[in-house]
């Protein structure tokens, strides 16, 4: 079975723990940004989104092993993600919600 060969490349528990630490640190930075939003200013929201996306990608890539799987799975998965972002951005856009965010 092809899936067995892909398992061979999986990371070690040590790496898993390191990743968990990294995720915890990123979460810490996020919470800190929340409290420092006044100081950081307009950058806070983009930074928060980037941090969340980073955590998102790390969990998918390592914990869900998507890095080690066939590209077909990544394609399916990103199709759903990208489609969701696109259509819902348009929906919120027609209500003017995203525009208000950008303005403030």
């Amino acid at each position: 079975m092809a899936s067995d060969t892909s398992h061979a490349a999986h990371p070690t528990p040590l790496l898993y723990v390191k990743i968990a630490l990294l995720l915890a640190v990123l979460t810490g930075i996020e919470v800190a940004l929340f409290y420092l939003e006044e100081t950081v200013g307009a950058l806070a929201v983009p930074l928060l989104i980037i941090l969340a996306f980073l955590k998102f990608v790390i969990v998918i890539g390592y914990y869900m092993h998507l890095r080690y799987e066939k590209p077909l799975l990544s394609r399916f998965f990103s199709a759903g993600f990208v489609l969701a972002i696109l259509v819902y951005a348009v929906v919120l856009g027609t209500f003017g919600v995203l525009a208000i965010r950008a303005a403030t």
């Binding site: 528990p13 928060l48 941090l51 799975l73 965010r101």
Partner: protein
């Protein structure tokens, strides 16, 4: 050349896994990709109302307890670690380790749900923000409630895996995939929470 069926060269894929991906795993990934649209609609719904002026107070963003939610987010993140360790253990045939990590994951998941129950109760009793207070409150409760329901389903699956493992004296190699599939689902619920935590709790603001 008429009698091709029996003598054709093996020019392509195997019989049952044309893509080389186990069918249940492929099915799980396909299903998870559709869940983006599911939670996307809920988050959209929340974002539409969260900052809309003129709704009945309190707005959810006025009463979030960020330190508390940060801790419960941390709990869910760590449950992803224990989940992946359970998967790692079963791949090495470590039955005891698998059981321990499965149970740990289920416990952390239960802890998260407990936190959510506490949060909801707090909002309703302390701040008077109920499901029926305003569309923003409705959207908040329905979004986080559906996420909590997903966690609950995950916890049920973890406990049943744990139970199967105990009852049968360990999970057979045929069940290894089950651990992986439950893991995929679990991590997915976790990444959805990563998005909710940032977008809903940290970014969204009540109108002034």
């Amino acid at each position: 050349m008429t009698d091709v069926a029996q003598t054709a060269p093996a020019d392509t894929h195997g019989e049952h896994e044309s893509t080389g991906i186990e069918i249940r795993k492929l099915g799980m990934w396909v299903f998870l990709s559709s869940e983006f649209l599911f939670f996307g609609a809920l988050i959209t719904n929340y974002l539409l109302f969260a900052s809309r002026p003129g709704l009945a107070r309190p707005y959810p963003a006025e009463i979030y307890d960020i330190p508390f939610t940060s801790v419960s987010s941390f709990v869910l993140l760590m449950s992803s670690l224990t989940m992946v360790l359970a998967h790692h253990a079963i791949e090495r045939g470590d039955q005891a380790g698998t059981r321990t990590w499965l149970l740990a994951t289920a416990m952390l998941g239960s802890l998260f749900i407990g936190g959510q129950v506490f949060e909801f109760t707090d909002f309703v009793l302390e701040y008077g923000m109920k499901l029926t207070t305003s569309p923003a409150a409705s959207a908040f409760f329905v979004l986080t409630g559906f996420h909590g329901l997903h966690v609950l389903v995950g916890v049920l699956m973890l406990f049943s895996l744990y139970g199967m493992s105990r009852r049968m004296g360990g999970l057979s190699p045929k069940h290894h995939l089950n651990v992986e599939l439950v893991g995929l689902y679990w991590h997915f619920v976790d990444i959805i929470w990563i998005v909710i935590f940032t977008v809903v709790y940290l970014i969204s603001k009540a109108p002034v």
